[in-house]
Symmetry: C2
Subunit: 236 residues, 2 copies
């Protein structure tokens, strides 16, 4: 988070009385909730590639954590007097598209999706959590994945790359595709949804990022992705 952003005014619980802010939060929680729900479904699906029952169990645990996050986000949406399914509806197309465009074809690609994809999502969560009231922020931070699954995926990937040098090129390409699709869908989601855009970007409310901050955030997400790819010895 840049210094500039850190000094922007932050939202309080009382702001939830303001319909524009509340609708923005519901929209943000809606996209995150649908992301967790479909994340659950796709990780469980990708566990089908897992070569052993041990790996299946590891991925199944990751998936059930995502579903627990979904349930927490859905409860918060209800607390804000909205329906989780209505809140998710505007975002199902973009999230489904991201998974369709980023469908792994084997176990190492599935691992990379856990490693790179979940990390990008975590970084995005953390950035966005600065823009909301404390209770919503707390919930969003709890939804940050614990790092054990990312470490598991990184360890497996390192082993796979060491055993088969040709993998590095393919995985570097696949990582580039994952970040590209993630950022393009994230920008599409925000651009298409006025309530969400109004929350995240300051278009007169005095809160949120200015457009420069917004673009800088995407730069930070990309830089963090590059560092993660390099940590595997891959060109980003």
């Amino acid at each position: 988070m840049s210094d500039d952003t850190r000094h922007r005014p932050t939202r309080s619980e009382e702001d939830l009385a303001e319909p524009t802010y509340r609708h923005g939060v519901v929209a943000l929680l809606g996209v995150l909730a649908y992301g967790e729900l479909v994340g659950f479904l796709t990780i469980a699906q990708e566990a089908g590639f897992a070569p052993s029952s041990r790996d299946k169990v590891t991925l199944a645990r990751v998936a059930t954590q995502e579903f627990a996050h979904y349930e927490g986000l859905a409860r918060r949406i209800e607390e804000l007097d909205a329906d989780p399914h209505e809140a998710m509806a505007p975002f199902t197309g973009a999230v489904d598209d991201w998974h369709r465009r980023a469908t792994p074809t084997d176990w190492v690609e599935a691992l990379m999706k856990v490693y790179a994809g979940n990390s990008i999502a975590n970084d995005f969560y953390r950035e966005m959590s600065d823009l909301v009231d404390p209770k919503t922020r707390q919930l969003m931070r709890e939804s940050l994945e614990d790092s054990s699954q990312v470490e598991f995926a990184a360890g497996e990937l390192r082993r796979a790359i060491a055993a088969d040098k040709k993998l590095a090129g393919r995985l570097a390409l696949w990582g580039r595709r994952l970040i590209g699709e993630a950022l393009s869908q994230a920008q599409r989601v925000a651009a298409e949804n006025d309530e969400l855009m109004g929350l995240l970007v300051d278009t007169g409310s005095g809160y949120g990022l200015d457009l420069g901050d917004w673009m800088q955030m995407f730069t930070r997400l990309t830089d963090a992705h590059t560092a993660r790819m390099e940590a595997l010895g891959l060109s980003a």
Copy 2:
């Protein structure tokens, strides 16, 4: 359970000191654990067919329950000084085959697999739980699915059949395939595994079913399936 079976001697905690019995229980828990693990994975996969986010959430909840059962069974295997993954290994082929042969091609077939498939598994659990010591029995009974998901699937199926009469024929066929594959894989699993067979069928231990009881149990499973299909207005 037939009266005859009910009067057979039952196992106690102390019997776990006997290696043959303990290995039999570990084998039974192994096949059940792998069944829950893959049940988790396939239900999550089949939720991909769900037409709405509401239905996806319902199936995701079913799936996470299965994983919680897996975790309970795996813990019990460890309590019995065995490794869950080694315990599951002899059964992965048969369980994977059952899912491969019973892969739904759309949402109504996925619902039928929940309705018919999980009910058969529940009935089988209940029958087998009579053959083990009280603590293992208690765990197996806790692993019986709560009926809400079966009712959900039955309700959706009734609605779908009412809306499209042609579905009845296709679903009746599909139901027949599910029970046929389930029973044939169950018999194959028991026949191929001496430890499991020794637990379930009395081949000199004085415990377990005699071969007549064993066949009667399959008849009961089939009858219950027929009744469930008829409850949907389908020929079984």
